[in-house]
Amino acid sequence: MNHGQQSGEAKHEDDAALTEFLASLMDYTPTIPDDLVEHYLAKSGFQCPDVRLIRLVAVATQKFVADVASDALQHCKARPAPVVKDKKQQKDKRLILTMEDLSKALREYGVNVKHPEYFADSPSTGMDPATRDE
């Protein structure tokens, strides 16, 4: 690994930025719980006692999920309007994360998800994500 030897001063600044960010993660609580990330990291074989690193992974995952979801939302909005309007938008502007949009969004991230053609799936309704999921 020779990429660390080139610029000494810049490296110090970068190190400072990284360490500062890691330190700021102590106060930042990501949406994904620490225990959950730790659990899955331990499942994959990676173990570290540092909470900051776990939170780094949690934030990275959160960013990834948020990016995917925003892309899926773009797809959802970009779809021809009448399809959405006829069914849902009269009642209220509810957008549903569908498998179709998600597979399109995930394809950009290198995940190929095939939407099952004849899989009848009803959108679970509800406002609170917590109550809906359980």
Binding site: P33, L36, V65, L73, L102
Partner: protein, 380 residues
């Protein structure tokens, strides 16, 4: 610690072999699904408000399959980060992870999508574009903690082995057993508990446990960690379960015995015994003018002897004593004996009162009837 497999709610609990097919039953997976749903719901507004003048739109509902797929992808993402970071850790000849390992893993995962500075092969890891993106993201996105506070993540980190002799603080019974072997289960507790009577079992067992097992454990855990602290608790619970099992098994039988058979039999026996004693008492009183208290005491002794011979347990004695006082009251002929019986048991006073009450009630009823009759007769 039971794992929260039942938290999946809608899905039933699957066999561990089927876990991969039905991920929804996993507690961790359901938690991850909630987190992913929360992220999806929260983050959308920010990213969308910029492109549209309208109010920010967000996903308010999810297809179950889509949410599960996204959760699955997120979990796979975490795990692949872990795998790659672990790989780089091992390549560097370390065991524990490092922040740069994770950054490297993030770069590997993000290389498909691309980020700032991918083309530079020699760039510093701390200067990575991925990290900058994440830093920017944490600045933009609002901080949203998980909706629920997890009490304690219920996955079994490792199975705790049975505590060794050194951990428990006990010495192995024989010299050839090394200290580091797991300690024997405490069999003495069980034996003692079986020896104790049913009358005193419930009171004595906690005392014995506290007395014998707790101090030895506290010795070893003074500076101990939580792990050690917990494992002997389990050990203590196991004999406790055995000990508690015995009273549960024995107690119902004894109660039945008390209630059914001894109630009838001792009454008859005690009647005879007390009658004979009372005859003797009378004779003694008439002849030698012995105080009543002593006489009754002697009769008590006799009764006790008889009852000791007959009854095996202490509780039966108690029952018999109660019954004896009752019988004594019934038989007592002289005033003094009735007074004694009265002073001994307050329940019997109720007898008189009840009788008096009954008489009063009867008289009242009679009076009422007479009144009604008189009224009827006047009306007629």
């Amino acid at each position: 610690m039971s794992n929260g497999g039942g938290d999946g709610g809608s899905q039933q609990r699957e066999l561990p072999g089927k876990r991969k097919l039905f991920r929804g039953s996993d507690f961790a997976f359901s938690i991850a699904r909630m987190a992913v749903a929360q992220i999806c719901e929260s983050v959308e507004v920010n990213s969308y408000q910029e492109s549209q003048t309208r109010e920010g739109v967000r996903f308010s509902s999810f297809q179950e399959s889509a949410l599960e797929t996204l959760t699955d992808v997120a979990v796979q993402y975490i795990q692949s980060i872990g795998k790659t970071a672990h790989l780089y850790t091992n390549i560097a000849g370390r065991v524990d992870g490092h922040s740069l390992d994770i950054v490297q893993a993030l770069e590997d995962l993000g290389s498909g999508l691309g980020f700032a500075g991918v083309s530079d092969a020699d760039h510093c890891l701390a200067d990575s574009g991925v990290v900058k993106d994440i830093i920017r993201y944490t600045g933009e996105a609002e901080e949203m903690p998980f909706v629920y506070s997890l009490p304690r993540f219920p996955f079994s980190k490792e199975k705790k082995p049975a505590p060794s002799f050194s951990e428990v603080g006990a010495e192995p019974p024989d010299e050839h057993i090394p200290i580091w072997l797991p300690a024997f289960p405490e069999t003495k507790l069980c034996d003692r508990s079986e020896e104790t009577n049913a009358a005193t079992i419930e009171g004595e067992i906690p005392r014995k446990e506290n007395g014998s097992s707790l101090p030895s454990m506290q010795h070893s855990f003074d500076g101990g960690r939580l792990d050690i602290h917990k494992s002997p608790k389990d050990v203590r619970e196991s004999p406790k379960a055995v000990v508690e099992g015995n009273p549960f098994l024995t107690a119902p039988l004894r109660i039945v015995e008390k209630n059914v058979s001894p109630v009838v039999r001792p009454l008859e026996i005690s009647n005879e015994v007390v009658r004979t004693n009372h005859v003797a008492d009378k004779h003694m009183r008439n002849n030698h003018h012995i105080p009543v208290l002593e006489a009754s005491a002697s009769s008590d002794k006799i009764n006790n002897k008889n009852w000791l011979a007959e009854s095996e347990d202490g509780e039966k004695e108690d029952v018999a004593r109660k019954q004896r006082t009752l019988v004594r009251f019934k038989i007592g002929t002289t005033k003094r004996s009735t007074c004694l019986a009265k002073s001994r048991s307050f329940q019997e006073e109720g007898w008189f009162q009840e009788n008096e009450d009954k008489r009063e009630k009867k008289s009242e009823i009679k009076e009422k009837r007479e009144r009604i009759d008189s009224q009827l007769s006047t009306q007629m």
